[in-house]
Point group: C2
Chain length 315, copies 2
């Protein structure tokens, strides 16, 4: 398939880098201010070198990507809330031109799912968004193969930054501020870690899951969300005396979405460590399926995007 990649951050660059290995061509790559376009496939190495070197990816106007001859638009620009722009409009334009769209950007599918559904129904193109939930872990395709109607709920840990912080607080008996600073030094937490530690990032993912289960109807404002910023080290010590620990757990069902710190058995499935993510998919006939893996990272998330591209190629 011919890919037009919007966004040249970790995910966009990794998709561009790995596309050839999966048998696809990148015909366009855009960052916020420029684009490089080549119907025969862009020079991937050169474009990534420019970007990593601090330069724009190209010299074309990003707008011109939409005129390129592509099969799948990969939306990997930063997640935005509420109107989810400009990501939403990028996807809308691809669908209106009867092209496919694969999202790594959570905004449009968390905040404006119903509108996307309508646009996709009226288009010869389809949307897929595995990369928006759980990075490398194939959660949405698992639900799709079970059929959403056979899935009753999804529960788990879907933010690696918060999970890393809680793991380290418990392991070392350190307080939150100290471990957050450590996480930022390691690049596990961003300079502005708000969405990771206040539960918003996890909530967006569980809202997307609720939309998949219920076929729409949810946005971030429907979620009940509590973060990890106020957990004292003493809470983790107390939990440990009882053979338990604390994790930022989310749950999505057709009834709603909740994210918050929860006590979980120390050696149980939900007590994943470090930046690892896990979901428990509850099904009607097949019991509980657990999927765990790396929830974030350029290459990891890119594999989810390219997996979606592969599924679109089968249509």
């Amino acid at each position: 398939m011919k890919l037009a990649v919007l966004g040249a951050g970790d995910v966009g660059r990794s998709v561009t880098d790995l596309a050839g290995e999966y048998g696809h061509d990148v015909v366009a790559l855009a960052d916020s201010s420029s684009a490089v376009i080549d119907p025969a496939g862009i020079d991937v190495e050169r474009a990534l070198e420019r970007k990593v070197g601090g330069d724009p990816v190209g010299t074309a106007d990003p707008e011109s990507v939409f005129d390129a001859d592509y099969d799948v638009l990969v939306e990997a620009t930063p997640t935005t809330l509420d109107d989810a722009e400009p990501g939403f409009s990028h996807v809308r334009r691809a669908l209106e031109a009867d092209r496919h769209a694969v999202l790594a950007n959570k905004g449009p599918v968390a905040e404006r799912y119903d509108e996307l559904r309508t646009l996709a129904a009226d288009s010869r193109g389809s949307i897929r968004f595995e990369a928006t939930v759980g990075g490398a872990i194939p959660i949405l395709s698992t639900i799709e193969d079970e059929t959403p109607q056979a899935v009753t709920a999804v529960r788990g840990v879907l933010n690696g930054t918060a999970n890393f912080i809680l793991t380290r607080m418990a392991a070392e008996g350190l307080d939150y501020e100290h471990v957050l600073a450590e996480a930022q030094d390691l690049g596990v937490a961003e300079a502005d870690p708000t969405f990771d530690v206040d539960g918003t990032d996890a909530a967006l993912k569980f809202v997307i899951l609720a939309n998949v289960l219920a076929d729409g109807g949810f946005s971030l404002s429907d979620a009940t969300v509590e973060g990890i910023q106020n957990i004292p080290g003493s809470a983790l010590d107390l939990a440990a005396e009882d053979g338990r620990t604390i994790r930022l757990i989310g749950e999505a069902s057709r009834e709603g979405v909740r994210v918050g710190p929860r006590l979980v058995p120390e050696n149980g499935a939900l007590a994943v460590t470090g930046t690892r993510n896990i979901v428990q998919i509850e099904t009607k006939h097949a019991g509980s399926l657990h999927n765990s893996g790396r929830g974030a990272g350029g290459p990891e998330t890119a594999t989810a995007v390219l997996s979606d591209v592969g599924r679109l190629a089968e249509l």
Copy 2:
């Protein structure tokens, strides 16, 4: 899709029972001596009642299933080794008639994979076999979505009977014979448990995985296999002193297949308990993906069959 189901054991009956919920019709169901066929869809309730009541499913000759108007043949007759008959010929006849085949029967894909691949290449029908590996757990579709070339190895616990026995031996300090008898009482082990406890069942599954990774070339005779029949209770006690336990672990890569009892960390991912299964899928770009869930059971395995039918319906 219209399904012709061969085999009226746990899996065949569950597929027949759940097909309607997934939007498919069962137009034929055969046990070893009879068949019931109806182009408009068989009376599922009646057929299952007859079978559960000890009667044949129908009055037709099982041979006549192959003349029925079906889209997908579901091969759910008992696993046989070496020539994998009659299951292999069932699948061959479906493919030669340009129909799809979905297998729950491990024999043909473990023992004669290369021949099946050739038949499928020459047919307008395709074969899928998620149900042959890990029951409800979507292992093969995960590997397919990652692309097999991006997967380097698969390791894990894929026999619930052996896992149950080892879990109980460790938990209760009982010996193997005692726990095997308990497992048989509970229906977790068969009257003849040989293939479960000697590692053959697990080996068939890891051979299938190696065939998927390497695109053929493996059969059961290529696997190095050791079972759990000779593990004394004292071995588990010793392991526990070291924070470890013993599980029947299999591993498949392009280099080969091995199954045998291994020491694993007591609280690690591989130490699943009871009849639960787990696989660790090692990937080039996405780290290690863990999938766990129920590895066996009529409804559980049926969900894997119906998931495959759904993927065929997309083609």
